[in-house]
Symmetry: C2
Amino acid sequence: MVALDVGGTDVKAAIVAADHTVIHRVRRPTRREHGVESVLATITATAADLAAECRRQTGRAPLAAGVVVPGIVDERTGRAVFSANLGWRDLPLRDLLTQQLDLPVALGHDVRAGGIAEGRLGAARGVDEFVFVALGTGVAAAHVVGGRAQRGAHGGQGELGHLVIRRWGPRCGCGNVGCLETYASADAIARQYMRTAGTLSDPRTDISAEQVSRLALADDPVAGAVWSQAVAALADGLVACVTLYDPALIVIGGGLARSGPALFDPLRAALADRLTFQPHPEVVAAELGSEAGCRGAALLAQDLITSAAWHPAAEATA
Amino acid sequence: MVALDVGGTDVKAAIVAADHTVIHRVRRPTRREHGVESVLATITATAADLAAECRRQTGRAPLAAGVVVPGIVDERTGRAVFSANLGWRDLPLRDLLTQQLDLPVALGHDVRAGGIAEGRLGAARGVDEFVFVALGTGVAAAHVVGGRAQRGAHGGQGELGHLVIRRWGPRCGCGNVGCLETYASADAIARQYMRTAGTLSDPRTDISAEQVSRLALADDPVAGAVWSQAVAALADGLVACVTLYDPALIVIGGGLARSGPALFDPLRAALADRLTFQPHPEVVAAELGSEAGCRGAALLAQDLITSAAWHPAAEATA
């Protein structure tokens, strides 16, 4: 299987065997700054290189490709409906890639695929109903029930990053104000730190959200304030997830989950503070880390070739 | 089928034939002010009276009973886990009623049952994925996917009334602050009107939420302000539902849906204002009105006797 997780910054890609072993990994810049055409070129070149590598290493062509992308994705029609980060609107991405790669392609949503991967291979093994939250450049959630990530009527379920947390908050890229992403995404945390520290306009002082979390643990007052605000906003968003989804477990993945106790200790405390009558779900770190989306893409590709019903092209090659 | 919808104020009950015709209706005070035992006595007496009426009118005993209640309900175990309104905690209600009524009993959640009824018999016929919102003494939502109302891991999904809308808002009965119910439940609207009009302590001036909506339409400034605040809070709650569930349709039921255009016109405008990239679902009034829960209870009873797997007792009598 060839698997690609197309993010705002990088494409994480891998060759994955049927027993879920990762045979080969690559990571390339998405090049979204050059527009949709350039993102598409990155996807097809990466997939083609991996297919060649697969033939070289295993002597066989890959059976299928799984490609997962952010934003609103309609898995049924194979369309990438909307992504603020990647700039596309209603793109028939599955069919485009099927043609260009000459392979059956499963198109999925990055976070829903990550949720499926955590459920089958990671932190939520054996849990029937859980929420997977990806904290990175963006923030999104997948509500997984009985091994399936719920999609919604238009493929737009789980847009946790655009839940309005503070109605007086900052303007979000989506056009609304006070969305969770404006407080708790990696970008927002880094920018808020630099703004508060007065270094926003100085590129030499660029800092990552992970560095902010480490500074906060080391009692840096600016980092502490920024980090607390992000954790509080995230807790508010998770309480909304608990109230509307009622999961047994919350799995936190994405780059920010690497912050470890700096994230999980105050987050669990804030949740315990805010939940009243609702059953309290456990909150744990994802096990597949930043690979969840890519591993999920491989699972989608595998499901595609074991179920020809998913995509007609699969019949010919399975 | 004997069907009961146990609310905070009234029990709405009916005898319903297999073709969904309502043969007989009754409505009785729940008598929650006398405690859990008294609520249970109301339920069993009402069900017994309906069973007798069923024998009188049709010459046959009912095949099953469906009972739906508010709060957190675990349909799988038949337990009423929690209801602030009715005062119970972890009550094995299905088994208690099965014994007392000597009938197979399906226990359900009032709003999930109402959602199922609107999906099979009402405003959401033919819609695969929708949200049913009950606006009454309380506020709750059911997310219905493929004819099934999602329950959550603990039977607590859809507690929309306890979504925090304003973190600086009033204290809610659930222990949190600023829950949607403190703005947009029928009680909250009536009380807020009386508080603003300065008549809260005068029982002669008791007013209903429906009257507030009519006064608001007639340009009463106090009613207008209270109503606008309720509609704005409700719109914020529905935007959260759209963001996390992505439904194709929102069906509004419960007593407040009777307010008609006074509710739906500003609510649709407020949703259109607040939604940015999300697909906009249609917002329509429930067709079954305040009967949705009771009709849903009848459907649960019917499902029980057509699927003996649901409850072992059904096998003997179906």
